[in-house]
Amino acid sequence: MNIIEEKQNDIMIIKLDGRLDATTVPTLETKMNLIHYSDIKFLLMDLEKLTYVSSAGLRIFLVAAKKIKGKNGKFALCSLSNEVQSVFKLSGLYEIIKITANTKDALEILK
C-alpha cells in the first residue's frame, strides 16, 4: 500500500493506494501516530484508490476520528469505492464518521 501525504493550508490530506489489511496496517499506523502526536487538527483521508479494507484497517479510521475529535479538530473520509463503503456500513462506522463522495465536499466540511 502506498501512502501519499499532502498539505492544504491547515488541512492534512492522506491518500491511500492499495490494500489496507492486517499485513499493511502497521505502516499506516506509524504514519498516523506521528499525526496524532502533532498539532494537526484537520485531517482528510482520501480513499479513492483504496481497494480493500479489513477490521484491522477500520481501527485506524476509528482511532483517527476519536483523536482528532479529542483535539477539537475535524476529520473526514472521502471517495470510498462501493466495496470499501459496504465494509464501513456493515461495521457501523458509516454513521459516526464524516464521509463524503469527493474531495471537494470533504474540504468544505474541514474548512
Binding site: D21, S55, A56, R59, K69, L90, G92
Partner: protein
C-alpha cells in the same frame, strides 16, 4: 518473501505453515484467486478475502498467541455447483478458541463510546451465510458457507 509456505494437497486444500499477521495477505489472496478459478463469475471475492483474513487474524491472536514452530492452518475450499456456494473449512491446532462466542459489538454507540476493535468476527457473521465452530482432536474447526452472488 516471508516464511509462509503453501502446499496444495488437492485442488481445494491448502496447508499454511507459520501463519503470522505479516503474511496473512498472501494466504488470503491465494484462496480467493482459487475461488475465482473454480467459478469465474464469482463476484464476492472481496467478501471472501475479508472473511478469511478476519479468521486468520483471530487464529494468530488467540489460538497461536505464542511464537512456536507449528502455527499451522489447514484450509479447504469446496464449491457446490448446484447452489453456487463456496464452503470453507479453516482448521488450526492451537489453543481452544471459539471466535463465535465473542460479544457482538454495539453499533449504536457514539464515536466517543465506540470501542476500538471487535469488528472482525462481526463482519464474518454478516458476510457468510453460515458459520459453525467445533473443537475436535485438539483442533479449532470453523466451517463457513459463502454464496457466490
Amino acid at each position: 518473501m516471508n516464511s509462509a509456505t503453501n502446499t496444495a494437497i488437492n485442488s481445494h486444500k491448502f496447508v499454511i505453515n507459520n501463519i503470522e499477521l505479516n503474511n496473512i495477505s498472501e494466504t488470503v489472496t491465494l484462496i480467493s484467486s482459487k475461488a475465482k478459478t473454480i467459478y469465474p463469475p464469482f463476484i464476492r471475492g472481496g467478501d471472501m478475502e475479508l472473511i478469511i483474513e478476519e479468521i486468520l487474524v483471530n487464529i494468530c491472536n488467540y489460538a497461536y498467541p505464542m511464537i512456536d514452530s507449528h502455527r499451522q492452518v489447514e484450509i479447504s475450499l469446496d464449491f457446490d455447483e448446484k447452489t453456487k456456494s463456496f464452503f470453507l473449512k479453516i482448521v488450526d491446532f492451537g489453543l481452544d478458541f471459539n471466535p463465535l462466542l465473542k460479544e457482538e459489538p454495539n453499533l449504536e454507540l457514539d464515536l466517543e463510546d465506540r470501542p476500538i476493535g471487535g469488528l472482525g468476527i462481526h463482519l464474518v457473521k454478516k458476510l457468510a451465510s453460515k458459520v459453525e465452530y467445533s473443537r475436535k482432536n485438539y483442533q479449532n474447526i470453523l466451517s463457513l458457507e459463502i454464496h457466490s452472488t
